[in-house]
């Protein structure tokens, strides 16, 4: 079925499906939908929540979804394999402030690890191997003067990390909100702010579309991008509304929702930070022998 570029149009209104992961990062699109930024541009938005790239990217490529949400490193990998997708606008970015970011490397209260360099040679949990987590954590260690080559990364869902750290199954875990709050609430400490260490104001994720849609229906892409940018800006300016909207599509505990650290939602993609991620990835060998062509993946 449908590789129909802009979805079915009904009185000029385009039905648009967006593949997202139901986490804090995508709050702007929900907020924007609520504020009518998409309806104003004749976009009838539906969110399809998947667990990650494995479900979202094929959906976008085949036209089942018009847009998707993915972290930058995954998109860079996709580019090296010539997956026909392209970024349309920014998704989410690091706050750039150590101590106040939405993700970091945590350890148990009584852990001997106190600074990033201590992570060398340890076992660290990340949500996906060979992706943005491990490359940026290595960079933190490297910058602190440690040797990242001996680190063992273990893959597990964020939700499991607090327990794994607590039980000593791993020495440290890279977690993001809301699991980060759970760890610190249980007395865990953050020893490294990997996003902050990797690059200033790191762009973490972006919205993308298939090359086919971009070629066939540039107007829809333009309208979506505008609406998205408006949403991003609105979210950045209204943290309270963000915390409120989280209650509608996540099950984050209301108390945690009030306290958790929100990310930044700039409308511009921080190109140098993407270049850094590309360099880090290449350094860690996650692109194989290829190097991502940034011009082909970024707008």
């Amino acid at each position: 079925s449908g590789d129909s570029g802009g979805g079915t149009t009904d009185g000029g209104v385009a039905k648009v499906k967006v593949g997202i992961i139901p986490i804090v990062d995508v709050a702007p699109i929900y907020l924007g939908q609520k504020q009518g930024f998409f309806a104003n541009r004749k976009i009838d938005l539906t969110m399809e929540s998947g667990q990650g790239g494995a479900a979202i990217v094929p959906g976008v490529v085949s036209g089942q979804f018009q847009f998707g949400f993915s972290n930058i490193t995954s998109l860079l990998i996709a580019q090296t394999k010539n997956v026909p997708v392209k970024v349309v606008t920014n998704g989410v970015a690091s706050t750039g402030t150590a101590g106040k970011d939405f993700g970091g490397v945590t350890v148990r209260k009584d852990s001997p690890i106190t600074e990033p360099a201590d992570l060398a040679g340890k076992k660290i949990a990340v949500n996906t191997l060979k992706n943005i987590g491990d490359t940026t954590v290595r960079e933190s260690v490297r910058k602190a003067g440690g040797d990242p080559s001996g680190i063992t990364f273990v893959e597990m869902p964020f939700a499991n990390m607090p327990a794994a750290v607590e039980n000593g199954q791993v020495d440290a875990a890279w977690v993001v909100e809301p699991s980060l709050s759970a760890v610190t609430a249980a007395g865990g400490r953050v020893v490294a702010w990997n996003y902050v260490d990797a690059a200033p104001d790191l762009t973490v994720a972006a919205y993308f579309a298939s090359s086919k849609l971009i070629a066939d229906d540039p107007d829809l892409v333009k309208r979506f991008t505008e609406a998205m940018n408006e949403s991003l800006a609105y979210a950045d300016a209204h943290p309270d509304e963000v915390r409120e909207i989280l209650g509608s599509y996540t099950k984050i505990d209301p108390k945690v929702r009030e306290a958790l650290t929100l990310p930044k939602w700039p409308t511009e993609i921080n190109k140098p930070s993407v270049e850094t991620l590309s360099k880090l990835g290449a350094q860690d060998g996650i692109f194989g022998s290829a190097t991502p062509d940034l011009a082909k993946i970024l707008p």
């Binding site: 990650g52 790239g53 494995a54 990217v57 094929p58 490529v61 085949s62 995954s74 990998i77 996709a78 394999k81 010539n82 997956v83 026909p84 949990a125 996906t128 191997l129 060979k130 992706n131 063992t152 990364f153 273990v154 893959e155 597990m156 869902p157 939700a159 499991n160 327990a163 794994a164 039980n167 199954q169 791993v170 996650i286």
Partner: protein, 255 residues
Amino acid sequence: MIKRLLLVLGLPVVLFVTWYAASANSENFYAPPLRQILAAFVDTWTPERLRADVLPSLARLGAGYLLAALIGIAAGVAIGANPRLRAAAEPVLEFFRAVPPPVLVPVIMLFAGIGNGMKVIVIVSGCVWPVLLNTVEGVRATDGVLADTARAYGLTGAARLRHLLLPSASPQIIAGLRQALSIAIILMVISEMFAASNGLGFTIVQFQRSFAIPEMWSGIILLGLLGFGLSELFRLAERHALAWYHGLRDAQRRS
């Protein structure tokens, strides 16, 4: 021999040729031409790769499967032979049976950590069911006259188990073991989606995530080949273990 080879390979060859032809000009990123997949197969599954990824998987698979067979048969006999126990245990077992492994894994991780033990338990947790259910049903279906004979001659306890219940349930137990084999492979893949750093399932999932689609398909083909190879082994074992049964069933059919 040649006839058997023809029977075994006939349909697969036809299907592969069809696939090859149908996909030759495929533009779809996720459904590449078989040509590419086969090329990727050769490049990917080098002997080192097999040793590093397939061997650990097979070890976990073997351990999980054997454990599941043991538990399934032991518990199945106990439950099948004892209606009260069955009444008490069945709802709890059905409860766990309905919980999907991907959501069960985190719970298992709580208790079993993240090492090989966890993966083996995940395999067991999934493939014990067909063995258990079939054993229960097989034991329940033990012929009444035969059971009476055993009782009359004082076959109780272990002897009853060894000489009556197990052999008479064996056709169904074997059916369960057969089912469990392919489920074990499936769960091997699922278990390696969590906290793994090597293994066939892990590798396939990595390929999937890194958009190495021909390599991913080659991994799926390897899974299929693995399943086929194991089932051939199984068939040989079954021929041996159920010789009496096949003889009995074929006795009059062969004319």
